[in-house]
């Protein structure tokens, strides 16, 4: 037997002296004796030095032990999901459509949390563009106002029990109605059809808040697909096709294709806009004519008569439009935003007569299918107690249908035995329903979409459902007794669409988010056949001609139709309206002359009455508002949208009227002052450019064609050698850029002012929302803003005649019907930055790649940099926006664990008291550089894009490396040098890295200020 070797701890153990044995038994060594030992030979007494050491250790140990470690719930993956790498974002293709505009999107997720949308460049419809509304919807995923469980009469109920009760109730309900906004999902429609097959007597009624019922009827039930890029002359009668009408992202891209100019392409479409309110589209028009809604029919009739019969109009501007339209022929296009079938019939007839290539009815658009007449009939039937069960599927007619109050009364009176809401929250309609089976957010769902015949797209879940909700289609399938899930159902549907190897094709479709093909039947050929032009003419001629003030109900670009996802979304509520620059609420836009006549000032509350109903809203003086009209945006006045969206403005839809079986978004109204005041939160309160050519420049196409070198005015400074460019003389040394030099070119000709970049930036950079009062205090935090300037009737050229003082005073007033120019404004990343020199602590510095960097940690908050910034793009954290209870409602997503999931982990949430501003998305630049480095190559142009440039539907913003001679931005700068390229405030010699391109209007100078 072998003896195991023995190991000693030390020589003491081997020797095993008695002293060692004694010490080995004691748990602790002897307590250290403390005594002064100097001069003493007694070695057992520890010197003072040891005592101090011991005490120091004891103190430190006690201090450390008393420190509580903050507990943070950071749970590592037990099994790491295959696709998820912590710190690396994944992108998934998806689709957003909620009854308003369609967007094909890429969802950026971090560790399984969707944090931002980007446009999907694969989409043939939106082509990488994205509307502000769609971008903001990522925030609504984390909206605590969503219903988080199934409910019966507002109380939580078990899912199975609800299913059981609903099935029983539906079985004996008799007539069942499913009410929804437009559904463009072929599979969902099939689900509804299947549901209808199970419960006989089911009807599916679609209605739209911004109805196109009239347009549908005039085209035999289909919505023409428009292609604005194929139109050289566009005449729009109140259609806000760049902002809210049908498919604005798609149209904006098409429209701008035909508006971009260069030395090679010196043509532009010509855009006439006849409208009452100053819309986003109207503010981009070459010729904008204010017109009352009641005059619209006559004007279109005049166009019809000219195009068809060759008659001439007495109105000069209308006649100009007509003759150019006629000349353009097939390259002409007339659109109307009216919902009056008669008007739309004439418009269709005009386009047919022109043979407009821009109108496609063979592959129509699907984005509006609502039928006002059917919906009105259904509501009447509900009121009369003829409907046994109603399922509201994303529909909130109590709020957003003009007859909503009647419906609410009927529901309260129990006229419908079974009411079910599939809406995502207990909204105005949902709270009146017995059952609530909340739908998933679309980011938690599978779905398909067909925005246009032949263009399909998919939505895939990018996060596990946050709450105990169920996809609406699954609810319908469950109630209909189908055993399948909607996912399988969807796949089965697509088997018929995708050819070849289905699994492969399906994977590709999910990956791309889009696919060619159609799941809809071909539209009935109806061209020219069913048009009742004479009837339409008679209807227009006999339409009421109100003599008083006419109200025009419109949609705001930010809030759109005011549905749940938009209304309770603080990003959208704080997105300044492109035209009025107002946030947080609606208001009455009135023409200035009328306000002056009535002695109203901005913010005076007036009462607007029609149909026996009234709203009380503040007045906003709106240049360009047609005489005799006022405008009010719909989508406000929510009471059950959630904490953010409630109690903002008033609901104007009850003031709409029905005519020719369609909702007419205008009406004759009475307006009376109330004497109250309610300030409007605007982010811009000075509206004219004061003739400052150095800020923003524009010219006419004629001037451009004559000599592209003459369209931009360059400021020169006097030097001993004569007039020179401002950057010829400088006190500062120039920076040397050895690797990259990031820059941006912003084409003012392409920017339509839609605000998509504002939300893109906000989502990317965790920009705080500050709420109405703080916007009134002029402290909004947006890093990216769009300055909007109205033209004025006065110019510097009047100095001689009228004197400087009077001229300057007059220049502050916009014209009666001004021309509008938009200018995206963000940190200019100056190479000679005024902010950098004045910071006492070097918190803002210049990078070796041309970025003006802000070091938040170093900032002490003197605000000197902001004062010294000529562009006023720096934003100060006046408060703790993430912890001050004043901001808990509006900036809630920075307060709760749920909301914080939307924050971009790559960007710091800025502390109180520090300055912040655009960083040129430095985190995206770094990411792009790292990716390239990993692959041992230089970053390619287009690989690194700032969030604003990414989301721009018109590609007005081009970002890139100016040191790369082949980058798009370098090419633009080279091409436009000395022509349209200019720096804002060149004469201060800040040498910005952002270059603007002069706006070119296709307008005669005599049409200015028409």
């Amino acid at each position: 037997m072998q003896e195991s070797p023995k190991y000693w701890k030390g020589i003491e153990e081997l020797e095993n002296s008695p002293e060692f044995v004694k010490n080995a038994l004691a748990e602790f060594a002897d307590f250290m004796p403390v005594k002064e030992s100097h001069g003493s030979a007694d070695a057992t007494v520890a010197p003072r030095r040891d005592f101090l050491k011991l005490m120091g250790f004891g103190l430190a140990a006690a201090t450390l032990a008393s420190c509580e470690t903050p507990i943070r719930k950071a749970i590592p993956y037990l099994n790491k999901p295959e696709e998820v790498d912590p710190g690396i974002a994944n992108f998934y293709a998806s689709t957003f459509f909620n009854g308003q505009d369609y967007n094909s999107i890429l969802v950026k997720t971090r560790e399984g949390r969707p944090i931002k949308f980007e446009g999907n460049p694969e989409s043939p419809v939106t082509r990488g563009g994205l509307s502000a509304r769609a971008q903001a919807v990522v925030l609504s995923l984390y909206d605590g106002g969503r219903l988080q469980h199934f409910a019966k009469k507002g109380a939580k109920i078990d899912k199975d029990q609800l299913d059981q009760e609903v099935r029983n109730a539906l079985a004996g309900a008799g007539r069942v109605a499913i009410v929804s906004p437009t559904i463009i999902s072929p599979s969902t429609k099939k689900v509804i059809a299947e549901f209808g097959a199970r419960f006989a007597g089911t009807e599916h009624v679609m209605y739209d808040v911004d109805s196109a019922s009239g347009l549908l009827r005039a085209n035999g039930g289909v919505l023409p697909a428009y292609d604005f890029s194929k139109a050289d002359v566009i005449v729009s009668f109140g259609a806000d096709f760049l902002g809210t009408w049908l498919s604005p992202v798609e149209y904006a891209r098409q429209y701008i294709t035909n508006r971009k100019v260069s030395r090679e392409k010196q043509t532009m479409s010509r855009h006439f806009q006849f409208e009452s309110n100053m819309s986003l589209t109207g503010s981009n028009a070459d010729v904008r004519v204010p017109l009352k809604p009641s005059e619209m029919g006559e004007a279109i009739l005049a166009v019809y008569n000219s195009v068809v019969g060759g008659a001439t109009s007495t109105d000069k501007r209308l006649q100009t439009a007509i003759s150019e339209l006629t000349r353009a022929g097939a390259r002409g296009l007339v659109v109307s935003g009216s919902n009056d079938p008669a008007i739309q019939t004439l418009v269709t007839a005009i386009n047919q007569r022109l043979g407009s290539a821009a109108v496609d009815v063979a592959n129509p658009s699907m984005v509006r299918q609502g039928d006002d007449a059917r919906m009105a009939r259904l509501l009447t039937d509900i009121r009369n107690g003829q409907v046994g069960a109603v399922i509201f599927y994303h529909a909130n007619p109590v709020f957003d249908h003009p007859m909503g109050a009647d419906l609410a009364a009927a529901l309260k009176a129990g006229k419908v035995r079974t009411t079910i809401s599939l809406n995502d929250r207990l909204d105005e309609t949902g709270e009146l329903c017995t059952y609530a089976a909340p739908d998933h957010h679309f980011l938690e769902s599978w779905n398909d979409y067909e925005p246009k015949r032949g263009s399909l797209s998919l939505a895939q879940p990018v996060i596990t459902p946050l709450f105990a909700t169920r996809q609406a289609q699954d609810s319908l399938l469950t109630w209909a007794g189908s055993p399948t899930t909607y996912y399988n159902y969807l796949r089965n549907q697509w088997k018929g669409v995708l050819g070849g190897d289905f699994n492969k094709a399906w994977d590709k479709a999910v990956h791309d988010g889009v696919a060619a093909g159609t799941a809809s039947p071909a539209p009935v050929a109806q061209v020219g056949a069913a048009l009742d032009v004479n009837g339409a003419i008679n209807a227009i001629k006999s339409a009421p001609k109100p003599t008083g003030i006419e109200l025009v109900i419109y949609e705001k670009v930010g809030i759109g139709n005011g549905s749940n996802l938009f209304a309770n979304n603080p990003w959208l509520q704080e997105l300044p309206d492109p035209v009025t620059k107002a946030t947080w609420g609606n208001y009455v836009t009135v023409p200035r002359a009328y306000a002056a006549e009535q002695k109203w000032e901005q913010g005076d509350v007036v009462k607007v009455t029609a149909n026996g109903k009234s709203v009380e809203l503040p007045v906003l003086i709106q240049p360009g508002q047609a005489k005799g009209t006022v405008g009010i945006a719909l989508g406000y006045g929510r009471v059950r949208a959630g904490k953010v969206g409630n109690e903002l403005g008033e609901n104007v839809l009850p003031l709409a009227t029905m005519r020719n079986d369609a909702i007419i978004y205008s009406n004759a109204v009475q307006i009376t002052p109330t004497g109250a005041k309610s300030p409007i939160a605007q982010t811009q309160t000075h509206h004219t450019i004061m003739d400052r050519k150095q800020v923003v420049q524009e010219a006419t196409l004629k001037q451009y064609i004559k000599d592209p070198k003459e369209v931009t005015e360059y400021e020169k400074i006097s030097t001993p050698e004569g007039l020179e460019k401002p950057n010829k003389v400088s006190l500062w040394q120039d920076y040397e850029y050895k690797n990259h030099h990031w820059g941006m070119a912003i084409d003012l000709n392409s920017c339509i002012g839609c605000g998509s970049c504002v939300i893109g930036c906000q989502a990317e950079n965790n920009v705080a929302v500050v709420g109405k009062q703080e916007v009134i205090n002029r402290r909004e935090m947006h890093w990216m803003r769009i300055d909007r300037y109205y033209s004025s009737a006065s110019h510097k050229s009047d100095f001689e005649a009228k004197g400087k003082l009077d001229t300057y005073a007059a220049m502050e007033d916009p014209s009666e019907n001004p021309q509008v120019i938009f200018q995206p404004m963000l940190c200019q990343h100056c190479n000679h930055a005024p902010c950098e020199t004045v910071c006492p602590v070097l918190a803002t510095t210049h990078s070796s790649e041309g970025l003006n960097q802000m070091t938040y940690n170093r900032c002490v908050g003197t605000r000197y940099c902001a004062n010294n910034c000529p562009y006023k793009v720096r934003r100060f954290n006046w408060f703790s926006y993430y912890s001050n209870e004043k901001f808990e409602t509006v900036n809630g997503h920075m307060f709760t664990d749920l909301g914080r999931m939307v924050l971009n982990p790559e960007v710091t949430v800025r502390a109180r008291g520090v300055m912040e501003k655009c960083s040129f998305c430095v985190q995206r630049i770094q990411l792009g550089k790292l990716e390239a480095k990993k692959q041992k190559r230089r970053p390619q142009d287009g690989e690194i894009v700032s969030a604003c440039a990414q989301s721009c539907p018109t590609q007005a913003i081009v970002f890139g490396d100016m040191r790369d001679p082949n980058s798009r931005v370098s090419q633009i700068l080279r091409r436009e040098d000395g022509e349209r390229a200019f720096h804002v405030l060149d004469s201060i010699n800040t040498q910005p890295n952002i270059t603007y391109l002069t706006k070119i209007r296709n307008t005669e100078s005599s049409e200015f200020n028409a």
Partner: protein, 485 residues
């Protein structure tokens, strides 16, 4: 002893002896506080309470408690800062520049003026700290060795220059003031009866014995400090003006600012000295030391500096027109005719028109009118800074960012609060420190006494303290420490 023309008005009236001077000045320190002083201190403390509350709101919630916004990043904070620094200019000017110019009349006002300087600079220094978003990191503006990496301050930034300028000015002023106080503290120490006062003033007087060596050093140090302070009078406000002048903001970017700010500072400083002196001389019965002649002289300085400021205002307009820079032109047109026209015209009226009244002798020699004038000038100079800061910022380059500014209640609270702080300090000073430099006043007394009895002053009803009879007047001592009293 220097020769003084007999036709000059006496600097101290009422036939004061050395002992009278000691008595008159020490009386305030030694006597129980009077009711007027108590009342004044209560009001000052109340305002100080407002200050602390406003500061608490600012520090706890953030700068958002103020009325500032995205375009106007400075308003009342820096207005108050520049205003207080300006006020703090007279003290050094009086004690340093007038010392170098051998202006003897300064002796009875320099102590209070210097105290005012120091308190004003303390008030001013509140603002650069409070206006920071993160004032707890204010020490980052000092260039110190640190472990943050290679972090250093930005020597390009005028705010950094400010840090050096203000701290230098404050420390030199403080030393200068304190040096002057030492002999007087010793006087009080020697007269003190209570044990606390004895100890306190002993400590404060640094063992001053009044020996010839002490006096010699005192004189030397005073002269050196005067020499050091004199450039500071010019440098401090020059550098403060560079906060604006080196920027690109139209209306700030102006080369005239340094001289214009210095003149404005002296202007407002003298106005504040007058305001305080006129009150002090009545409250503490020092009419014989701060005579109508002093007031008239200070009025003249105010008039001259006010005129310089007026010329500067007009020059700015001329240059704006002459430069042909559109932004600059608009900034000035906007100043005079824009939404803040009232601020501009208040400034013009207060600072340019009212001081011209001093040309009239009756105004110059009228105490009530001078008092009103000094208040008007103080208001005007506050408006000057407000006009420069707010009307330049609120409408600068991009019309899209043009805004209006209105102060919040906290803005007002902090401003009023610093006035409370100032007066609290000043009242404590006036009670516990000798408000008039006894030692130096005695140096001008000889001349005064020789001629004094013949002069009855402007107002025969003035209360004249009874001349002491038991003590003779030293015949030839230019400065004499009155040890026995």
């Amino acid at each position: 002893m220097q020769h003084v023309s007999p036709v000059r008005e006496p600097l101290v009236t009422g036939g004061k002896t050395y002992h009278d001077v000691t008595q008159d000045v020490c009386r305030q320190v030694e006597a129980a506080p009077n009711i007027r002083w108590m009342a004044a201190l209560s009001v000052a403390l109340l305002l100080l309470g407002v200050f602390f509350y406003s500061v608490y709101r600012t520090l706890w919630y953030g700068i958002g408690e103020w009325g500032l916004n995205k375009t106007v990043g400075w308003a009342w904070d820096i207005t108050n800062f520049v205003w207080w620094v300006g006020i703090g200019h007279a003290g050094t000017l009086i004690s340093a520049v007038l010392l170098l110019f051998r202006q003897k009349w300064r002796t009875s006002i320099n102590r209070a003026a210097e105290a005012m300087t120091i308190f004003a600079v303390i008030c001013a220094a509140m603002f650069p700290v409070l206006h920071m978003g993160r004032p707890w990191l204010a020490f980052w503006v000092f260039p110190f060795q640190n472990t943050f990496g290679s972090l250093w301050v930005n020597f390009n930034s005028p705010l950094l220059w400010d840090v050096f300028a203000i701290s230098t000015y404050f420390s030199v002023s403080l030393v200068f003031w304190y040096t002057g106080l030492v002999p007087d503290f010793a006087t009080i120490r020697d007269r003190a009866k209570g044990p606390i006062a004895k100890v306190a003033y002993s400590l404060l007087s640094f063992g001053w014995k009044g020996s010839a060596k002490h006096w010699s050093r005192y004189e030397t140090v005073s002269l050196i400090l005067a020499g050091v302070s004199t450039p500071l009078v010019l440098s401090v406000h020059t550098i403060v003006s560079m906060d604006f002048a080196t920027s690109v903001v139209p209306g700030w970017h102006t080369t005239i600012f340094p001289p214009y700010f210095v003149a404005g500072a002296i202007f407002s400083g003298f106005a504040m000295v007058l305001t305080l002196m006129l009150i002090t001389r009545v409250v503490f019965k020092l009419e014989d030391y701060i005579t109508i002649e002093h007031i008239a002289l200070m009025n003249k300085i105010m008039m001259i500096t006010g005129s310089i400021v007026g010329v500067a205002y007009i020059t700015e307009f001329f240059i704006a027109w002459y430069s042909q820079v559109e932004f600059e032109q608009y900034a000035f047109i906007n100043r005079a005719t824009g939404p803040y026209w009232w601020a501009y015209w208040s400034m013009m009226t207060c600072n340019v028109i009212t001081p011209q009244l001093v040309w009239i002798r009756r105004v110059r020699y009228s105490i009530p009118l001078t008092f009103v004038l000094s208040i008007i000038v103080n208001i005007g100079m506050w408006f000057e800074r407000f006009v420069i800061i707010v009307t330049s910022l609120h409408r600068d380059y991009l019309p899209s960012s043009w805004v209006m500014f209105s102060p919040s209640i906290i803005d007002i609270g902090i401003y009023v609060g610093t006035i409370g702080l100032f007066f609290t300090l000043f009242l404590l000073f006036a009670k516990f420190f000798p408000v008039i430099n006894m030692a130096e006043v005695k140096s001008v007394l000889k001349y005064t006494v020789d001629n004094g009895p013949t002069y009855t002053g402007q107002d025969p009803h003035h209360h004249t303290p009874q001349p002491a009879t038991t003590h003779g007047v030293p015949a030839s001592a230019s400065v004499n420490y009155d040890k026995h009293d």
